[in-house]
């Protein structure tokens, strides 16, 4: 970031899962309360709030803070698909870095409909003609990795096995059981090559962070070094903007690549400096593509990255120690901030059995509809 230092002064999270007895406002309030309590901040202690959510509807953040008696400050509701929380974080961090505000609250929450995500993004004819199912687009991207990056079905399964092994130790995750290769490869085929256990579940949850020009009471201090949002440049038929067409052989950099480039430059770090990464794993193929797009390996090296176990807890660069979306599930507005909460715990050294020893530099990444991609760099 340019300008003042931006500290993460407090974090809070509501578990990701299914909570029929609670509405989305209550999920958001639980995460907000936890973050404000940890930061020692109450009414009057923050000057603005930024709320990421996609499916919640009108004035979502206002209902959360109004219900807690904390309204009065500007409350900005932000929708940027899967990157909504990252977009909200970027606005909050910029407000602190610029000196506009000393302390801001950033939160995100979601209560996703069950089943395949239905999106108002598509005109009705696209749904009627069969052009809307997200897993089919995920499958085409996975197929491309198989054709061009040496990725195999076993690599795809191994990503799911890894993330579920991590999720076993995460009390905030929806699925906390280990999966075997046989279970993942033998599960129901949703869209070849992706089986049911290679896809994350849309679900519910919330996460919140307090950003401040000063460190919070819980140490060691964690700084936001970059929080970048990018949209797509047209040209890729497989981009998250879900076009009907693209160009052959003239593909622009993806929003993840442009966001990562900008974030590394702002933070003054490169992929080699990272100790721990939380990245978008909507499906197993998306994790491998994210690894390539973030520069964690060379282009086309995603299969080898998985085969060599680089992203395992025992590997050189643990990826998704939280269990990722595959274990946690994906509440769109909360998922990016859920990564940030996990990474703050990692940098503080309080991630319990998920702890990456000595983590000092962390990266969070989300990408989805819009297209939107966010890349956040945190350091201790």
């Amino acid at each position: 970031m340019s300008g003042r230092s931006v500290h993460v002064a407090g974090v809070g999270m509501h578990p990701f899962g299914r909570f029929d007895e609670r509405d989305v406002t209550q999920l958001g309030q639980a995460a907000v309360r936890a973050a404000l309590d940890e930061a020692g901040v109450g009414r009057g202690g923050f000057q603005a709030a930024f709320c990421g959510t996609v499916y919640t509807g009108v004035a979502a953040g206002h209902k959360v803070l109004g219900g807690l008696g904390l309204s009065g400050v500007p409350i900005v509701n932000v929708e940027a698909g899967c990157a909504s929380g990252g977009a909200a974080l970027g606005l909050g961090a910029a407000a602190v870095a610029s000196g506009q505000h000393d302390t801001v609250l950033v939160f995100g929450m979601e209560k996703m409909p069950r089943g395949i995500i239905r999106s108002s993004f598509f005109p009705p004819w696209c749904e009627e003609a069969g052009y809307s199912p997200a897993p089919a687009y995920f499958a085409l991207r996975a197929r491309r990795l198989m054709q061009e990056s040496g990725v195999t079905r076993e690599h795809l399964a191994r990503v799911s096995v890894k993330n579920h092994a991590h999720g076993v130790h995460n009390p905030y995750a929806m699925y906390r059981k280990p999966f075997t290769m046989e279970m993942v490869l033998g599960a129901q085929m949703v869209c070849d090559p992706l089986t049911l256990f290679m896809l994350c579940s849309p679900n519910e949850g919330a996460a919140a962070v307090v950003l401040s020009a000063r460190p919070g009471p819980v140490g060691p201090p964690v700084l936001v070094r970059a929080a970048v949002l990018r949209s797509h440049v047209p040209g890729s038929a497989l981009g998250e903007h879900t076009p009907m067409s693209g160009l052959i052989g003239d593909e622009p950099p993806s929003p993840t690549e442009t966001a990562a480039r900008a974030a590394y430059e702002l933070a003054g770090v490169g992929p080699d400096d990272l100790d721990v990464v939380e990245l978008q794993d909507t499906d197993s193929g998306r994790e491998i593509l994210s690894i390539e797009e973030l520069g964690l390996c060379e282009r086309g090296g995603g299969g080898r990255f998985v085969a060599d176990g680089v992203g395992e807890m025992t590997g050189k660069l643990p990826v998704n120690p939280s269990g990722g979306l595959l274990s946690k599930g994906e509440p769109l507005g909360a998922s990016a901030l859920g990564q940030i909460v996990e990474l703050v715990w990692q940098l503080r050294g309080t991630a319990d059995r998920r702890q990456v020893d000595g983590a000092r530099v962390a990266l969070g990444h989300t990408v989805g509809r819009g297209a939107n991609a966010s890349v956040v760099v945190l350091t201790r």
Binding site: I116, P133, L140, R144, S245
Partner: protein, 143 residues
């Protein structure tokens, strides 16, 4: 009173209709300024923002780049299951996302020659056949 079953496109401006002397084509936009194609056709070029685009009928044939098969009914979808779904490369330099008539994974492979088809996908609530586009394997193309 009954009326004869009519055929209606699922959305106007996507493809040529049955009886068109040109045969089945996609109706793509082509930018006069930069020459690039886009689909569906729009007034403004997505690549250079120029407002001068013409509609061109393209995509009679193509080759399969990527494919999958959709087994579960997506919300709102009204056609048959399972269905093939893929990315098709056209000689005009355009790469289109398309439904495939073939849903057998043993048949679908990268580079498979394909031909465009405009055909009924489902019958709507008014009793009309709704036409959509899809690519089908084209053994006549060799390869």
């Amino acid at each position: 009173m009954t009326r004869a079953m009519a055929q209606v496109p699922i959305h106007p401006g996507l493809f040529t209709l049955p009886g068109d002397p040109r045969g089945p084509h996609l109706l793509a936009g082509r930018c006069v300024a930069c020459g690039k194609h886009h689909f569906p056709a729009g007034d403004t070029c997505p690549y250079c923002s120029a407002a001068d685009c013409r509609v061109e009928a393209i995509g009679t044939r193509g080759t399969l780049y990527l494919h999958t098969v959709v087994n579960a009914r997506p919300p709102g979808y009204r056609g048959p299951l399972p269905y093939g779904f893929g990315v098709v490369d056209l000689k005009e330099g355009l790469r289109v996302v398309s439904r495939l008539t073939e849903s057998d994974l043993a048949t679908l492979r990268p580079g498979l020659p394909l031909a465009l088809e405009v055909a009924p996908l489902y019958v709507d609530d008014a009793g009309d056949e709704v036409l959509s586009f899809a690519y089908r394997p084209d053994p006549g193309a060799g390869g």
